[in-house]
């Protein structure tokens, strides 16, 4: 099978799953005990409009709630395709706009956490496999299981406590860099996406790590003059964003390290028994080179698959970290929507997370097929 064919096939296979997710979210919204028509008009539900109907009744008609369920589903799908994802009662704005703002925040966090977690997990996994059944291996297996068992929200708060508020822990760093505003002298700010005095444009990509470079004039609010002043560089903004992202991403990274370590260890142990590794050793190549060049490269191939699943895990974990670190991302949005039974938002968030997960898996699969052509044959 050619690569293009493989991609097309995978794309086609994606459609029923996305359809399934839409049916699923629709079903959830049907069960949720909230009246969307009443939620939209609030106290004004009883007011009679120009067409002789109360605001509530006209909402019912506008939302199509008087129609049978299957027709409602058709309406829902048509609206989705038209880009009308409904109005969020909690955030007082269209769902799609809110999601457009929230998704980059979560994605930025997830990607950065994977970028931190993968090297950690893979390195530990390699050492663990190389020194199989030795003390380091036992210790790292314990650490792996311990990391899997860590409650993310607790870990995040512990990091906040130790790295964010404890004065003196990173004195060498704080002496070299200016003191961070939101902390009592800790290493990292404990909440927020950026220094409140910095301004990021609304028109950017939403990824602050990128936006900090494309901002035309980096401005900072000066409380003395009560004005925005250009007194900083792109680099300052970038570092500030990175510092704010560090704690939540590190938390998620630690949480994902455990699983990765185990997979990497198992994968490498399997590869180490292969004939080509034995051949390489027989040729007299140094052990380091055998492991790094011959074994690890092959052991990494199955790890790529886990990358796709890890993105789902990171988004799930983001629900907790975003709540703790006050990031207005999709996780926080989902929590707010569910607490206030904002059903259109719940549907939107579920659908978008599912689509992100499926697309990232697709990308991973495609890259897998490029790296390892055997996959395409299946």
């Amino acid at each position: 099978m050619k690569l293009q064919e493989f991609i097309v096939r995978r794309l086609i296979l994606l459609i029923p799953v996305i359809m399934g997710v839409s049916v699923f979210t629709f079903a959830i919204a049907q069960i949720i005990p909230a009246d969307p028509a009443a939620a939209l008009c609030g106290e004004k539900c009883g007011i009679v409009g120009s067409n002789g109907l109360t605001a509530y009744e006209s909402n019912v008609i506008r939302l199509g709630l008087d129609k049978p369920v299957y027709q409602q589903y058709v309406i829902y799908i048509t609206n989705l395709l038209d880009g009308d994802w409904g109005e969020s009662v909690t955030f007082h704005r269209p769902v799609i706009e809110k999601l457009r703002d929230a998704a980059p925040i979560t994605l930025e966090m997830s990607f950065l956490s994977l970028a931190m977690g993968f090297p950690m997990g893979i390195t530990l996994g390699i050492f663990s496999a190389v020194w199989q059944d030795e003390l380091f291996d036992q210790a790292s297996r314990f650490v792996a299981i311990a990391f899997v068992s860590l409650p993310i929200f607790w870990l995040a708060m512990m990091f906040q406590y130790i790295l964010g508020t404890q004065v003196g822990i990173c004195d060498p760093i704080t002496q070299a860099l200016p003191l961070i505003p939101d902390t009592d002298g800790g290493c990292f700010p404990i909440y927020g996406r950026h220094d409140p005095t910095y301004t990021f444009p609304d028109t950017g990509t939403g990824f602050h790590l990128i936006d900090s470079w494309i901002v035309e004039e980096p401005t900072k609010f000066n409380p003395q003059t009560n004005r925005y002043e250009v007194s900083m560089s792109h680099w300052d903004m970038f570092i500030d964003t990175l510092k704010h992202l560090f704690l939540p991403c590190f938390t998620l990274a630690v949480a994902s390290t455990g699983g990765l370590l185990r997979y990497m260890r198992a994968s490498l142990l399997e590869v180490m028994n292969e004939d080509y590794v034995r051949t390489a050793r027989a040729k007299g190549i140094s052990e380091t080179r055998v492991i790094l060049v011959h074994a690890v490269r092959n052991a990494l191939v199955p790890i790529v698959t886990i990358l796709g699943f890890s993105i789902g895990g990171a988004i799930g974990g983001a629900v907790l970290t975003e709540t703790i670190f006050a990031f207005p991302g999709m996780g926080k949005t989902a929590v707010d929507a569910i607490v206030y039974l904002d059903f259109s938002m719940i549907m939107g968030v579920t659908l978008v997370t599912a689509i992100i997960f499926l697309l990232s898996n697709l990308l991973v699969d495609i890259s897998y097929a490029i790296v390892d052509p055997r996959v395409r044959l299946e």
Binding site: P33, I145, A146, P151, M157, Y161, G313, V319, I338, T350
Partner: protein, 636 residues
């Protein structure tokens, strides 16, 4: 519940007695003596002992493998510790999680400084008492004031303060929270204060005296004498955090094990159906799991919690209960029913003769009046569907009993005896139709079949235990869910804990379904399954007796790991406010309650989190150890 337990035990014991009596009587009727079946009995006992010996041997072997791993032993120790704590929480804890010995809520209002004492702070046996000076001055109350606690609910259910023993006076404050001179009040003796003249002249209607008291209840028996401290600090309402964490283990373990168990059950059923039947069913189920996997678990669970928001009790329409029961009986009696419907191996000669005659008349050989022919056909038809009719009538019987169509008076009076009657009826019904009991025994009349199963010489009688189990579970169901309404109540109080449990079950089954499906697909192709199929074993039997017992190993590992995962997810849900009620002694809730005072009162977050970590770690380590046992590489 205890009432129910005694009732249930009574029924169980009477059932056993009943079975033995019937067995002895039926033996007597058939002229069989107790000594006749001695050999059979010894044989049965020997098999029983042999089976257990094998099991114990296997267990020992597994333990040998398990013992090699230090981590697994640590995990097991952790789990045993947590379970012991949850069982003996009443004895270990110094304070009931929802009662408050110190009761310092008043402090909160006075100086906005709730008593959140740090771990190992001795201040946890300080008490603040308000003394009404105005009452002393005007009403002539005594100037000797007894030191008492805040009112606590006593055994009679009324609010009464209990006397305290004063050790030391800490401080005195007026109504506005300003410090006063400590000499205003004298400690008269161990139990009373004396109000000096200066105290009565204070320009405040009430003064608040804080004193250290002899707090024996706060003393941990395993700490040295006179060392009365809150070892993990106190919460914002002045409750002992350590006690709360101890009690929290109960809820967490309950959630973890219930959810993991039900998830495994649901996933196993769906996964085995998917793997065994394959085809379109498999395709549909697998696409469903794809959908579930596409949404991150926590968000999915949150959505389910939201969807279940207004459910106060889990009910089922009576019709669907009847339908499910019917489905259950039909699947378990499938072999019998299909045999009857196809007419193969019909035991009675009469019926075969009838069939022959009918066939002859149809072919025009014999002459038969049309009326008799119709009668014959009707009889044959009734005979063919006799089991279905029986099943149908028994269903009707149950639904009438459950739905309370019978006059309530009769229902109340006949309650216990009625249940006995139903028990006998059910037992007979299931015994008659349970083919497994009579396996290997040639088909006989119904009476023989029944007496056979009561026969103590019958080596297959142990199989009757399974029947009894099915039957007991049905009775249990009746009891737990007895209701006079038309709806069948599955869970009466569907509280927030049940909601997160339901959400986690609904989120978790796809993983198990896939796991089991893979196993079933693999085992289905093995020779022993083929052999079972070739001798005509029904699908259900192949599934439950041949395939699933071979697939239990990865299930056990997944179950153990899932208990830990569930505890984590449940505490996460509690943390974001979707789990248990705030103020509950549940670890996630404790963390989320403590978050308001973080990082100043760091202990409120740290210790419950450590408890979650320890429990989850225990289950994960144990699961890892079990994986080693199950791993064929370690089999010797």
């Amino acid at each position: 519940m205890s009432d129910f337990t005694t009732d249930f035990l009574l029924y169980f014991v009477s059932l056993i007695v009943l079975i033995f009596t019937i067995g002895i009587i039926s033996d007597g009727i058939r002229g069989k003596k107790w000594s006749d079946s001695l050999e059979d009995r010894t044989e049965g006992l020997n098999r029983f002992i042999q089976g257990w010996k094998q099991r114990i041997y296997d267990l020992r072997k597994s333990w040998k493998i398990f013992r090699r791993s230090v981590l697994a032993i640590i995990g097991l120790t952790l789990i045993i510790t947590v379970s012991t704590i949850s069982i003996f929480a009443d004895d270990i804890a110094v304070e009931h999680p929802y009662r408050n010995l110190q009761d310092t809520e008043d402090l909160w209002w006075i100086d906005n400084e709730p008593r959140r004492e740090a771990p190992f702070s001795e201040a946890c046996d300080w008490h603040e008492q308000g003394i009404d000076i105005f009452a002393i001055k005007t009403n002539g109350n005594s100037r000797y004031v007894t030191a008492v606690s805040d009112p606590v609910i006593d055994e009679n259910g009324s609010l009464t303060p209990f006397p305290l023993q004063i050790i030391r006076l800490e401080s005195i404050e007026d109504d506005l929270g300003y410090e006063l001179n400590n000499s205003l009040i004298n400690v008269h003796n161990e139990t009373t204060f004396f109000m000096t003249d200066d105290a009565l002249n204070v320009s405040s209607s009430k003064i608040w005296v804080t004193f250290e008291f002899e707090n024996e209840e706060m003393h941990h028996w395993w700490l040295p004498d006179g060392y009365d401290v809150c070892i993990m600090g106190t919460t914002n309402t002045g409750q002992d955090l350590f006690s709360k964490i101890l009690y929290g283990s109960r809820i967490s373990l309950k959630i973890g094990i219930t959810v993991a168990f039900l998830t495994v059950a649901l996933g196993t059923i769906i996964g085995s159906i998917s793997g065994y039947y394959g085809g379109i069913i498999d395709e549909v189920i697998m696409r469903m799991t794809d959908v579930f996997f596409a949404v991150p678990g926590l968000i999915l669970a949150m959505a389910f919690v939201a969807a279940l928001q207004n459910t106060t009790s889990l009910t089922m329409a009576m019709s669907s209960v009847a339908f499910l029961l019917l489905l259950f009986l039909i699947t378990s009696l499938r072999g019998v029913i299909s045999e009857l419907l196809t007419g193969e191996g019909t035991p009675s000669n009469l019926i075969s003769r009838l069939q022959m005659k009918l066939r002859e008349s149809d072919n025009g050989i014999g002459d038969m009046p049309p009326l008799i022919s119709v009668l014959f056909k009707g009889t044959l038809f009734l005979f063919r569907i006799r089991n279905i009719l029986l099943v149908f009538f028994s269903i009707l019987f149950f639904s009438i009993f459950w739905s309370g169509i019978w006059p309530s008076g009769i229902g109340m009076e006949l309650d216990k005896s009625l249940i006995l009657v139903i028990m006998i009826f059910l037992f007979l019904l299931i015994t008659v139709f349970d083919k497994n009991i009579n396996e290997g025994v040639p088909k006989k009349l119904i009476f023989d079949r029944v007496s056979e199963s009561f026969d103590f010489g019958n080596p297959y009688r142990f199989l009757a235990l399974r029947t009894i189990l099915i039957f007991i579970s049905v009775i249990l169901l009746i009891f737990v869910t007895r209701s006079s309404e038309s709806d069948f109540i599955l869970i009466k109080d569907f509280d927030r804990l049940w909601k997160i449990q339901a959400a986690l079950i609904l989120t978790g089954w796809p993983g198990y379904a896939r796991l089991i499906r893979g196993q079933v697909l693999y085992i289905r192709e093995m020779t022993f399954v083929e052999a079972a199929k070739s001798v005509g074993a029904p699908d259900g039997r192949i599934m439950f007796r041949h395939i699933l017992p071979s697939a239990w190993a990865p299930l056990l590992v997944a179950f153990t790991l899932d208990v830990g995962g569930t505890i984590l997810s449940a505490s996460g849900l509690s943390f974001i406010g979707l789990g248990a009620e705030p103020g509950t002694a549940e670890w996630g809730i404790l963390v989320s309650d403590g978050r308001r005072f973080f990082p100043n009162s760091w202990w409120l977050v740290t210790f419950p989190g450590l408890a979650i970590l320890a429990t989850t770690l225990g289950f994960n380590l144990l699961g890892d150890g079990l994986r080693d046992i199950v791993d064929p590489k370690n089999k010797r």
